[in-house]
């Protein structure tokens, strides 16, 4: 039975052929059957070769009057899709069938004919097909209409002429004819916006009754609504009433379609949403899984944009957590976690605990990830969430699942200091009985970094030392390193750690012995400040060179008197020689490519910058902006910049890409003119040594600025470099190069660059916890704007703050709106903003801005930004 599809159809043909030729060509057919069976080796060849033959045999079957046989003939002709020459053979038979009075022949012959027809034949048979559309029999009419839908893609001009006949179908009494006619009418007018809107307008009054046609009409209606708002016709939505009336249709199919259409309207208001949410809520408790799935899926989407609208359904949603259908259960949980508030967390967790044991790992992983984000959202609830995570950690589970849990605990420990001690103990308990070496080593490493800084580091030692006795060599080695970190960081533990490490030097594995010996000598060293610093660097510093370079250097190192020097390892990421790269295809993959694109995101930048000696002394990175393009798309050299803000420095990271295969750029540098940025003075720059084709590299320029001051300014940039011609066939560059430069666009440091987007979970609490005395309020006129939403977006962009509680979205026809923003300003000052917007009839917008900050001067600074913006 494992035969591929083509093969089966052939077998199928075989069966048919078999009957009429029985007795005459039995032997031949049997032989043919055998060929088909052998054809498992090469079904495609077989089907192609045999297709023609089969086709001709099959056409003979037209002589038979047996209806079943005739139907199979139609089916086969469609599957075989004969070549034009062969088509001629059957068209006359098909036309005969279309003109006969057996409706079943008629309908199917039309469908077959339209599948194999070409343009000249189509014009020839147009009259017959048009007649079929208005045929009394719905089966024939549907067949012709659906064929029209298929043909429209290839021969739109011809089909468009059928408009009149097709429109009659919309008023047919048969529901499917209605559906097909409506689909074809719409498709014919697809590019005529006005005609579509007219069509929809005329039909929404109630002439369409069939469920499928009604669904279609709903889709067209929401398309028209979308078009109207795209073309600036906002405000009233006359067609909304039609959608709402569909919510009361007798079939669930139409109700769902309408509810979904309403939830997907652009800028839907909560008043418009309510009736749709109500019907979806009813579906949630339906005995039919499909209905529950449809409802929870739609509500899940609504929860992303309008979490408040969905909260009414939370109780019904909670009962779905234990749904038999796991897709429904998972959707329900993720929806609840989006809409849930702080007070419902405990109840929710209890519900989830009950059903965790009987779902598959992949769903558990989804749940654990959702809980992690919940914990970040409601830090106060960490105790419950941590208990939950430690409980599930103890249960059975696969690697991916356990890793998700461990990752979540680690995230919580990092984000919530209070959770640290209990979290570390949970992890310790986990490694006591952990079957995954990878997780054990990761946790041991993490313990080594976090453990020594806790109130009582000694309690972790037992767990770590147990590893040395009970685990495999990899884990033992990791445990030795962790022990050493404790010994080094906690002076009081040093003697005990030394004893423990001494026991490890007799380990059966050489790596474990080596590490123990090494750490013993580090710990036993005299306490001069110098060695102290060195060992600290050695134990806790990260490897400053890319692993790939380290590996090559070590491979090239030949044992000699000279000691291997880690400083000789190049720190820059070399791209592969061009020729080699070509051999691999356009883009290098795997290890070679990975370091070339250092991970972006804050952590990635932080690591990257601290690895560059020139910038290492700048302190902690405050903020990194997103990419700002400094060149047009598709120019010779593509450059974008990332602004890194430090307390008293700013570093520009220029990401450059050379898009010319014939060129190699060397000594790539950016010359920055800061004459329009008075408070900045250039502190350091780092050129890019070589920039081959299509492998991005970075050049850096650093500026000093007054500490803690949000200085602003404009910088103009010029890219300077040495161009060397490259022979693309060999990939070798010429020795001599020419100096050249390339003008880049200007770059600005604006006030928003000093603001980090940090959300707060409960704006009101946060607002009230700040001193009312420090509140600064002022009013501004923002001039004429297209809409409230646009003005709000402009203010958010200007301030660079995080909008809270979904207040950045404005109901489409609102005249006033309040937007809540939060952020952290340079110097780690928490800032909250409450901006009230109002619009008058001339679209003139006024804003009342209330700012509360931990530092009064910052609140003033925010007002200054707005006043100058």
């Amino acid at each position: 039975m494992a035969q591929p599809l083509v093969k089966k159809d052939d077998d199928h043909d075989d069966e048919l052929e078999y009957s009429p030729f029985m007795g005459i060509e039995k032997g031949a057919v049997l032989q043919e059957a055998r060929i088909f069976n052998d054809s498992q080796v090469d079904p495609r060849r077989c089907s192609q070769v045999e297709a023609t033959q089969v086709f001709f045999s099959v056409t003979k079957l037209f002589q038979s009057e047996d209806t079943g046989l005739r139907r199979m003939v139609y089916l086969i002709i469609k599957e075989l899709s004969p070549s034009p020459d062969e088509v001629i053979m059957v068209t006359s038979s098909l036309v005969k069938d279309i003109n006969c009075n057996i409706e079943m022949y008629k309908a199917n012959a039309i469908r077959v004919l339209c599948r194999i027809i070409d343009e000249s034949l189509l014009t020839h048979f147009e009259r017959i097909l048009k007649q079929a559309i208005v045929d009394k029999n719905p089966v024939v009419s549907s067949a012709a209409l659906v064929s029209g839908l298929h043909l429209l893609k290839t021969y739109p001009e011809i089909i468009k002429k059928w408009n009149d006949e097709v429109q009659q179908g919309i008023h047919s009494r048969s529901s499917l004819v209605q559906f097909h006619a409506l689909a074809l009418t719409h498709q014919i007018r697809l590019n005529d916006r006005l005609a579509v809107s007219k069509l929809v307008g005329s039909l929404t009054s109630g002439s369409v009754r069939a469920p499928l046609a009604q669904c279609l009409l709903i889709r067209y209606t929401s398309q028209v609504i979308r078009d109207m708002s795209n073309h600036g016709q906002s405000g009233e939505r006359p067609l909304y009433e039609f959608l709402e009336s569909c919510l009361r249709h007798r079939t669930e199919m139409v109700i769902l379609e309408a509810a979904r259409a309403i939830t997907e309207l652009d800028g839907v208001t909560s008043r418009e949403l309510t009736p749709a949410i109500t019907v979806l809520q009813l579906f949630l408790s339906s005995p039919r899984p499909v209905l529950r799935f449809a409802a929870v899926r739609t509500l899940n989407k609504v929860a992303m944009t309008h979490p408040m609208a969905v909260t009414n359904c939370n109780i019904d949603m909670e009962s779905l957590i234990s749904d038999q259908n796991r897709s429904i259960a998972t959707l329900a949980i993720t929806t609840l976690l989006k809409t849930g508030n702080e007070s419902s967390v405990e109840r929710l967790m209890k519900q989830i605990t009950n059903f965790m044991s009987d779902i598959a790992d992949e769903f558990k992983t989804v749940v654990v990830e959702a809980i992690r984000s919940l914990c970040v959202k409601f830090p106060l609830k960490y105790r419950f969430l941590m208990t939950f995570l430690s409980n599930v950690l103890r249960e059975e589970g696969g690697f991916e699942y356990k890793r998700a849990i461990v990752d979540s605990i680690v995230t919580i420990i990092r984000d919530i200091p209070d959770a640290k001690e209990s979290g570390l103990l949970h992890l310790c308990e986990f490694i006591e009985d952990c079957e995954f070496t990878y997780l054990s080593t990761q946790i041991l490493h993490f313990l080594g970094i976090e453990g020594p800084n806790t109130s009582d580091p000694s309690k972790y030692i037992r767990y770590i030392y147990n590893r040395v006795h009970l685990e495999n060599a990899t884990v033992r080695a990791a445990a030795v390193s962790t022990l050493a970190k404790f010994g080094f960081m906690v002076e009081s533990l040093k003697p005990r750690i030394t004893v423990l490490l001494k026991r490890c030097i007799y380990d059966s594995d050489d790596e474990v012995r080596d590490r123990a010996t090494l750490f013993l000598s580090v710990l036993g060293g005299d306490d001069t400040v110098d060695t102290d610093k060195d060992s600290k660097e050695f134990l806790f510093g990260s490897l400053e060179v890319p692993l790939v370079n380290m590996e090559t250097s070590l491979k090239n190192y030949e044992p000699s008197e000279e000691v291997f020097d880690i400083n000789s390892v190049p720190k820059e990421v070399k791209s592969q020689p061009l020729a080699e790269k070509k051999a691999q295809g356009k883009k290098p993959t795997g290890l070679g490519a990975l370091p070339a694109a250092p991970s972006s995101g804050f952590d990635g930048y932080e690591k990257l910058l601290s690895s560059i000696p020139e910038f290492a002394a700048f302190g902690k990175l405050f903020k990194s902006s997103s990419h700002v393009e400094l060149t047009e798309a598709e120019t010779e050299y593509a450059v974008n910049v990332v602004k890194h803000i430090f307390d008293s420095h700013v570093v520009f990271q220029y990401n450059c890409t050379n898009t010319i295969p014939e060129q190699l750029l060397e000594r790539v540098n950016v010359i920055v003119d800061a004459s329009e940025a008075e408070e900045f003075s250039e502190a350091a720059s780092k050129a890019l040594n070589s920039l081959p084709y299509d492998s991005p590299g970075q050049a850096f320029v650093a500026f000093e600025k007054p500490a803690g001051v949000p200085a602003v300014g404009k910088f103009s940039n010029t890219l300077t470099f040495v161009v060397k011609e490259v022979d693309t066939s060999t990939g070798e560059a010429e020795d001599d190069g020419v100096e050249d430069e390339y003008q880049l666009e200007d770059l600005e440091i604006v006030a928003a660059d000093y603001m980090v987007k940090v959300g707060v979970s409960n704006f009101r609490n946060a607002w009230e916890s700040m001193d009312e005395e420090d509140e600064h309020v002022d009013e501004y006129g923002l001039g004429q704007r297209e809409s409230l939403g646009e003005a709000i977006k402009a203010v958010i962009d200007l301030l660079g703050m995080q909008s809270c509680e979904g207040t950045e979205t404005v109901p489409s026809n609102a005249r006033s709106h309040t937007c809540l923003l939060s952020g952290v300003y340079i110097g780690n000052v928490k800032v909250l903003v409450r901006a009230q917007f109002g619009m008058d009839s001339t679209k003139e917008i006024a804003m009342k801005l209330a700012v509360r900050a931990e530092d009064v001067s910052v609140a003033e600074a925010i007002h200054e930004i707005v006043a100058n913006g």
Partner: protein, 177 residues
């Protein structure tokens, strides 16, 4: 944009996930290998669920799949991510009921293989090139169901029907090997 509801494929698999009858209407799975891989994933994902009483539903690779099992037969209808699941369910129910009527209530793998021609006709009558053609089981059966062994049929046709039956037997045997 394609607005009319679209069905991406109809699958009829056995209790081991092997094909009995399948029909694809889109190019999402261009090769036979891709089709088989998809069938395998769908089968494994739904295998352990109980879809015998009610039509069940799941999401897979940006598709919505509705399914129903009976005896050792697994029926699936796939549609796009944005599709109205109730329309897909309606198609599935139509197919399921039509097959049930055609096989006179004896719905299992053996009967399905014996009447594979009817099942293919049935699928052909439900969906045409991805567009819903008919969902009412009685109408589908009326169009696809052909009473091959009609005692009142004339002698000449009788032989053909008998031949048809023999052919069917032969076909089944070759499939069962």
């Amino acid at each position: 944009m394609e607005l009319p509801p679209k069905v991406k494929n109809i699958l009829l698999l056995d209790s081991e996930g092997k094909r009995i009858a399948v029909k694809y209407y889109t190019d999402d799975w261009p090769t036979n290998a891709a089709k088989e891989a998809f069938e395998k994933t769908v089968f494994t994902k739904t295998q352990k669920t109980n879809a015998r009483a009610e039509v069940e539903v799941t999401a897979l690779e940006n598709n919505i799949i509705v399914y129903k099992f009976v005896e050792d037969l697994h029926f699936f209808v796939t549609g796009g991510e944005e599709e109205n699941e109730l329309i897909l369910a309606c198609v599935l129910q139509g197919l399921f009921d039509a097959v049930n009527l055609l096989l006179r209530g004896n719905v299992d793998k053996r009967e399905a293989l014996d009447n594979l021609d009817l099942i293919f006709l049935c699928i052909d009558e439900i969906i045409d090139g991805g567009i819903v053609l008919e969902t009412d089981a009685n109408v589908i059966v009326g169009k696809a169901g052909i009473n091959s062994v009609d005692p009142n049929a004339p002698l000449s046709e009788q032989t053909i029907s008998q031949a048809f039956a023999t052919a069917r037997e032969h076909f089944t045997r070759s499939l069962m090997k």
